[in-house]
């Protein structure tokens, strides 16, 4: 999750973009194609089931801990809630980010282009912890301020990549599309969005995976996330708790990321 990655939408599987035939639909449906994500999710499931029974292992890692396994909430519940928060925040970030980028690339919205890209950059540079601190007085404790912080943080990669993706469409192709009599909406849906899709998806991938890691800070203001064991571990000086939270967040992020990795090169 190197932060510099999100400014380079051409990383990942994007080299394939000029060769749409390289991965056909039938490839997408084979088991082998999905083996990596399946592996990651199997690992995640096994961790969830096995974690409560690994007391002796964590006790060995951190002999001072009074209770080696975090038991205030089931890991499954924490994971489900964590995912829910990220899913909510990402949906909002994707919908608003993609539509904002589309609007400012239309002839009538072009004036707002600098404004929108600046707003998105500010959202990203503003630390999510600060957003939380500022949002709590307005929105109270729990999930809502967490979602707000995640949305702001996740907007930039989506907006930036949508702008880049649409901007990369060959002007001659766009002119031909208009010259053939396509309406502006048809140009958007049949030409610009399909061609920009891989770049947009790469932005969404960055946004979502970063969001999964960042959502843990919601635990500081009472949202139930996989950050709970980490916060509890920091407060109680229990390294085993921190490890359990961190491992689950890491494996979750990798699982979701591997799904995107499989989706990307196949996009036309």
């Amino acid at each position: 999750m190197a932060p510099n990655k999100r400014h380079h939408p051409r990383t990942g599987g994007l080299g394939m973009r000029n060769d749409p035939a390289i991965l056909s639909d039938s490839d997408l449906l084979t088991w082998r194609h999905w083996s990596a994500p399946l592996g990651w999710f199997a690992a995640l499931g096994m961790l969830l089931v096995a974690m409560p029974h690994l007391g002796s292992l964590f006790a060995a890692l951190d002999p001072e801990a009074r209770e080696p396994i975090y038991r205030r909430d089931a890991f499954v519940d924490l994971l489900a809630n964590h995912l829910l928060l990220v899913a909510g925040a990402s949906s909002i970030a994707i919908l608003s980010g993609v539509s904002a980028a589309i609007m400012v690339t239309r002839p009538w919205g072009r004036d707002f282009l600098p404004l929108v890209s600046q707003l998105a950059s500010i959202g990203q540079t503003f630390p999510p912890v600060a957003v939380l601190a500022l949002a709590v007085p307005w929105l109270g404790f729990g999930g809502l301020p967490t979602v707000v912080a995640l949305v702001l943080y996740g907007l930039l990669p989506v907006v930036r990549n949508t702008l880049v993706g649409i901007g990369e469409v060959d002007p001659a192709t766009r002119e031909a599309a208009r010259g053939m009599g396509m309406s502006p909406r048809q140009v958007l849906w049949q030409l610009e969005l399909p061609l920009a899709a891989p770049v947009i998806l790469a932005g969404i991938r960055t946004s979502v995976t970063v969001g999964i890691a960042t959502a843990a800070i919601g635990s500081t203001i009472g949202a139930k996330t996989l950050g709970d064991p980490i916060i509890a571990g920091i407060i109680n000086g229990n390294t085993a708790y921190i490890l359990q939270g961190a491992i689950l967040i890491g494996v979750l992020a990798l699982s979701i990321d591997s799904v995107f990795a499989r989706l990307l090169p196949s996009r036309r």
Partner: protein, 378 residues
């Protein structure tokens, strides 16, 4: 031709901010005419073309299509009835060749079977094998193939009008020439009204019924290729016409068949042979190359049909005005009538007449397979 006008531009101007790209341009293009706009870079050719399908709105003046001001026609509806082909093709990179060709019919909501049938027809018309190309993506095509697909796409909904902006500009000379021939062949059958932009005068000479020379957003001269060669308006037109090569270029507009002496099939006169379909420029070049003052003329099956001497070229009367933009068609009509009017009765040179008629027939329908192709006149 007729006083009918398909595309009319009346005093049309286009300004981009301070700059005037097109300046008071007037033009009347008749149905079925192939009108070529030529001029140096930046003289407003593409701007003129794009104003016709409203990709660019004109600042002043009026543009009419079939008598209707184009501002009164819905933009998209207007463009769907005007074919548009450009140098960079603008094919959709994520669509197959077949889907690209079917673009406008799909916009017009034709039923799927009709689109498929039409796509097949067009691929055949433009010499693209369906099994080989239908499923390919644009990046898998050569420049010439992509350009064929671009032209097929422009023709898909059978528009009356075709706008072409340097469609063959990016191709090598041989591919370019074969596509030019193809376009002439298509035009002889489809009779579209074509506005064709190029900065290549040779291309203009070869294709045009009428050439419109532009400079600085204005028309400098317009007329048939012959008109221009005979009486260039000024030094600018003359330099576009190739300066001292003018004589050769003029010779390039006259088919050998119009000047040669028809002879019996058995008479072999010289070592070098020129095709009856070739032009006088090619014949002169052959004469220079082989240091001959006369050539044997053969038809497309390599049978001797006549002779051509330097004197025939030099002393030919009314070389210029009569041989208009379409000499091939005119002469072929005459001679085939002649052939039908006097059947085998004339015994002395019946052989020659018969042979000549065959040549002309061959010239009229470049290849017999065309007849099996689809018809596009509604």
């Amino acid at each position: 031709m007729t006083d009918q006008v398909r595309i009319a531009l009346l005093n049309v101007s286009k300004r981009f901010g301070e700059d005037t790209a097109v300046d008071g341009l007037s033009l009347a293009i008749a149905p079925g005419e192939l009108c070529v706009l030529v001029g140096t870079s930046g003289c407003g050719k593409s701007t003129t073309l794009r104003m016709i399908n409203r990709l660019i709105e004109h600042s002043d003046g009026q543009i009419h299509i079939d008598g209707q001001p184009i501002r009164e026609i819905n933009e998209q509806a207007l463009r769907r009835r005007i074919g548009y082909a450009i140098q960079s093709t603008g094919l959709f990179p994520h669509w197959t060749v077949a889907r690209n060709i079917g673009l406008v019919p799909r916009l017009l909501k034709w039923p799927a079977e009709r689109i498929q049938k039409r796509t097949r027809e067009l691929m055949q018309l433009l010499g693209l094998s369906e099994t080989e190309f239908a499923g390919k993506y644009p990046h898998q095509l050569s420049g010439g193939q992509a350009q064929r697909v671009g032209v097929a796409r422009a023709l898909a909904a059978d528009p009356d009008i075709l706008l072409m902006d340097e469609p063959f500009g990016a191709l090598d000379p041989i591919t370019r020439e074969s596509l030019q021939d193809e376009l002439l062949r298509l035009q002889a059958r489809l009779h579209k009204t074509i506005v064709f932009v190029t900065h290549d005068m040779e291309e203009a000479m070869k294709l045009a019924d009428r050439i419109v020379v532009m400079d600085g957003g204005k028309v400098v001269q317009q007329g048939s290729p012959q008109d221009l060669l005979t009486a260039p308006e000024n030094a600018f037109v003359e330099s576009l016409l190739g300066g001292r090569d003018r004589g050769l270029k003029q010779a390039g507009l006259i088919p050998v068949r119009d000047v040669m002496h028809p002879t019996g099939a058995r008479r072999q006169t010289t070592a070098a042979a020129v095709s009856a379909d070739d032009d006088l420029r090619g014949a002169l070049s052959l004469m220079l190359l082989h240091r001959l003052s006369s050539l044997t003329v053969v038809d497309e099956r390599d049978r001797t049909v006549g002779t051509l001497g330097v004197d025939d070229i030099m002393h030919r009367k009314n070389l210029l005005p009569a041989a208009s933009a379409k000499p091939a068609n005119q002469s072929s009509n005459q001679s085939s009538n002649q052939a039908y009017n006097q059947p085998a009765s004339s015994s002395d040179d019946g052989d020659a007449v018969e042979d000549k008629a065959k040549v002309e027939d061959g010239a009229e329908q470049t290849s017999p397979s065309q007849d099996r192709g689809p018809r596009h006149e509604e």
